[in-house]
């Protein structure tokens, strides 16, 4: 089986996946560097399946669309990438499937965004619809902060920054949960702890093992199903009313989670790819 490995920069996560593929006699790696691709519509790469690990969301999403259009199965699918790469589409998918999440408002002008923030109440969180690693998140504590951030975004940002995704701020007690879903199983989970309100490990959050309880597995799988399923990392908040889904990530980073959970996540991913190539 030829596995097309869609990538740009190869980080430790990708190295671990490459090592797992190379352990298997039934798999051959074909590197597809998104910086070198010239895609002819309708022409499939000579592979049986594509494993998407591109660091750029836009490149990944468009390449997946063309690969699938040419008949090549992909992990994850284009539709999953489209929904997960944009927080508004993720929130809409969760809403439509009844998956609990923090309150969300979407607005398209600074004036309506201010109304949206005031409707949710302070503090509120303003996020770019497309973006990750906790970058450009703003915790808006009061009206002065709201007016300042909205003005800066409208003047300094590209048009993307005038699509305002506003989320209710959830007091998470210094940690959140990242649950790893592979197919129909929640294989592992970590707590991400930080003194800062942003707990991404890319921003210094510490990873420790989180037991995969039945309620956690259930909501993580429901969130994964809501966006189309596959190999996904579901970020959750613990609240007095239960777990809430914050985000769903489709090119999940797991390098800090293998040792602490004791789960060989890349091995699970590669096994899933093998199953997906032979439905």
């Amino acid at each position: 089986m030829k596995v097309g490995f869609l990538h740009s920069l190869i980080r430790k996560d990708e190295k671990l996946l490459i090592a797992e593929v190379r352990k298997r006699d039934d798999m051959e790696l074909v590197f597809l560097d998104d910086r070198k691709l010239v895609l002819d519509l309708g022409c499939a790469p000579e592979v049986d399946i594509v494993l998407e690990r591109s660091i750029n969301h836009s490149r990944a999403m468009h390449a997946l669309r063309l690969f699938e259009g040419a008949g090549t199965p992909c992990v994850n699918t284009y539709e999953v990438a489209r929904r997960c790469g944009d927080k508004i589409l993720t929130a809409a998918s969760l809403q439509e499937c009844g998956v609990p999440q923090p309150e969300v408002r979407v607005a398209f002008t600074p004036e309506s965004a201010l109304l949206a923030i005031e409707e949710l109440g302070y503090p509120a969180v303003l996020k770019p619809a497309v973006g990750s690693w906790g970058r450009l998140l703003s915790k808006i504590n009061d009206r002065d902060a709201a007016e300042t951030v909205l003005e800066h975004k409208s003047i300094l940002g590209s048009y993307h920054h005038s699509i305002f995704f506003v989320q209710q701020y959830v007091e998470k007690g210094g940690r959140d949960i990242r649950a790893f879903v592979v197919g129909d199983e929640c294989v592992a989970a970590i707590y991400r702890s930080s003194e800062h309100w942003i707990t991404n490990t890319a921003r210094g959050g510490r990873a420790t093992n989180c037991p995969v309880t039945v309620p956690l597995a259930e909501i993580a799988l429901r969130a994964a199903d809501a966006v189309g399923g596959g190999v996904l990392a579901v970020d959750l908040f613990e609240t007095a009313d239960g777990l809430l889904v914050n985000e769903v990530n489709y090119t999940m980073e797991f390098r800090n989670s293998i040792d602490v959970t004791g789960v060989n996540i890349p091995e699970r991913v590669v096994s899933y790819v093998a199953r997906a190539a032979r439905p």
């Binding site: 920069l9 590197f31 750029n56 969301h57 790469g85 690693w133 993307h160 990392a233």
Partner: protein
């Protein structure tokens, strides 16, 4: 070992390098990318873009 193109320090290469692999120079801290394997050449890794990562 290979030479950092920024500070000329020594950069450790993994036993199974691949093109596109991200490395860090421990001497100057710059992020590097393996550009080619035969011969092995290193360049500065691109800056993070707005739609990077998960």
């Amino acid at each position: 070992m290979s030479e950092c193109p920024v500070c000329a320090g020594e950069v450790e290469i993994s036993p199974d390098p691949v093109e596109g692999e991200l490395l860090e120079c421990e001497e100057c801290g710059v992020e590097l990318e393996i550009l080619t394997l035969g011969p092995l050449t290193l360049g500065e890794a691109p800056e993070a873009e707005e739609d990077w990562g998960e």
